[in-house]
């Protein structure tokens, strides 16, 4: 049997995403490490009531990590399109209150829910979800709003908060290169949430710049072994940033 996880298009790779799905969306905040083509395909598909797990809630009103000050495509377009019911994030709004994101505006109207999580706790909850650890104790957030309603235990002489694992139906991640077995390598700071998210969803879809033959990726630098990855999609415009100004692709 020849294994190939490469799918012909982003549209086909997200065709079974359903209303109410829980989706992990990669990225730190900017377009680096963001599966922009999959996000565009999800908007086109129009699925609703999504729960998005991501570092941000889509910074769509400010230019973060984007050269030239343009506004990149991110999951903010799904929020703006009314497709998102809930976001689990650490950095949900723009740093400047005068430039509210789509998420902040809808949040004020009570149209989206937020579960606010410290960034390290978010990453660890995802790692735990992928590694079969149901919950863990962390000192982060002890004595703050984050600990409210959660079990708190004194361990090693200090308060720790019990945090539960996160899992998802789908993860839309972005890597640099894949081979057709789904082994992935990343570039620079775009590892971010991609690597843990690649382990924590039932269906992991990786958007990459390039697919190569098995053997071409150095096994010493593969960060995501292929067993985690169900589908690989090649970007139509490798290495380009998809900006909102230019529409679907530039």
């Amino acid at each position: 049997m020849t294994v190939s996880k490469v799918w012909p298009s982003a549209r086909e790779a997200v065709a079974d995403v359903f209303d109410g799905a829980v989706i992990m969306m990669d990225g730190f905040g900017g377009p680096g490490g963001m599966a922009q083509e999959l996000i565009l395909a999800l908007r086109e598909r129009g699925v609703r009531d999504l729960t998005i797990i991501s570092n941000t809630a889509g910074l769509d009103s400010v230019s973060f990590g984007t050269p030239g000050g343009s506004l990149p495509v991110n999951h903010g377009i799904l929020v703006a399109n009314g497709q998102v019911r809930k976001v689990i994030a650490s950095f949900p709004v723009s740093a400047s209150p005068s430039r509210p994101t789509s998420f902040e505006l809808l949040y004020r109207e009570g149209k989206v829910e937020l579960e606010l999580v410290p960034q390290g706790t978010l990453a660890e909850r995802i790692r735990a979800g992928g590694a079969g650890v149901a919950a863990f104790y962390t000192p982060t957030g002890a004595g703050t709003l984050v600990a409210e309603g959660k079990e708190v235990r004194v361990l090693d002489g200090r308060e720790h908060v019990l945090e539960t694992a996160l899992k998802a139906d789908f993860a839309c991640i972005r890597a640099w290169k894949a081979d057709r077995l789904g082994n992935l390598v990343y570039r620079g700071s775009s590892r971010n949430f991609n690597v843990p998210m690649a382990t924590a969803a039932r269906v992991v879809i990786a958007e990459v710049d390039e697919v190569v033959e098995p053997g071409e990726l150095d096994p010493e630098v593969i960060l995501t072994p292929g067993l985690y990855v169900k589908r690989v999609v090649v970007r139509r415009h490798p290495g380009k940033i998809y900006t909102r100004e230019q529409g679907a692709a530039s």
């Binding site: 900017g30 995802i126 982060t140 984050v146 590892r191």
Partner: protein, 222 residues
């Protein structure tokens, strides 16, 4: 209200920079903390950690040379530097929580006399970004706050008890403001240094918390 000149943001950053030991692993927050890297005393090597998954962050990239796969936690573009390493978010925060970061320099909305820190949400906005701040507050070996002493309305940000949502309890060690250097001690906030031209009494008058004032309080030296 006293209208004497206060320290510029760059001078606050310069004073903080003196606190960074040679060879330290340091995380700088957004705002005044970001400026600190410009003023590390010559001969000292400081290694910067970024939550975006980069260790040994060097200078920023030139315009036209920006790489979206090489950013710091503020979304600024970095230049590739010798000795740099990359890692994913779970490891980036394992480094923080695990006690591997020697110093974190953070901005603040309020700091209390017990060293409580509030820096993620203005209650008037009703929503805010926690980002990496709570992990740093819980995990960095030493927290230095760099901020203005009073807010835009002239209200003291150095308070008896924080009224804004907390980032962490009893986590701050040193506070450097545009008026003073304050050390969190078991006896309370000790006034260690004052801005040039300011007396301890004048700094106290701008401060909600009651300061512990030693007999001799030197001016901030750079």
């Amino acid at each position: 209200m006293t209208t004497k000149p206060r320290l510029e943001r760059e001078v606050i950053a310069m004073r903080v920079a003196r606190e960074l030991p040679d060879g330290a692993y340091v995380n700088l927050g957004i705002g005044i903390p970001t400026l600190v890297s410009n003023y590390v005393p010559e001969g000292r090597v400081v290694i910067y950690h970024s939550e975006s998954g980069v260790l040994n962050c060097g200078p920023l990239a030139e315009e036209g040379e920006e790489d979206i796969d090489l950013i710091n936690a503020g979304g600024q573009f970095l230049k590739k530097a010798p000795g740099m390493s990359f890692f994913h978010s779970a490891d980036a925060f394992g480094m923080i929580r695990g006690g591997h970061i020697d110093v974190a320099v953070l901005g603040a909305l309020q700091v209390s006399e017990q060293g409580d820190l509030a820096n993620w949400m203005l209650p008037s906005r009703g929503i805010g970004n926690i980002g990496g701040a709570m992990d740093l507050a819980a995990g960095a070996k030493r927290i230095i706050v760099a901020m203005e002493h009073t807010d835009r309305d002239g209200k003291s940000k150095v308070v008896r008890r924080c009224t804004y949502p907390l980032t962490g309890r009893r986590c701050v060690d040193l506070v450097v403001t545009d008026l003073a250097v304050l050390k969190v001690t078991p006896a309370g906030l000790e006034l260690r240094e004052v801005a040039p031209g300011w007396t301890p009494a004048e700094v106290q008058a701008q401060t909600e918390a009651t300061l512990v004032i030693p007999r001799d309080v030197p001016e901030i030296a750079l």
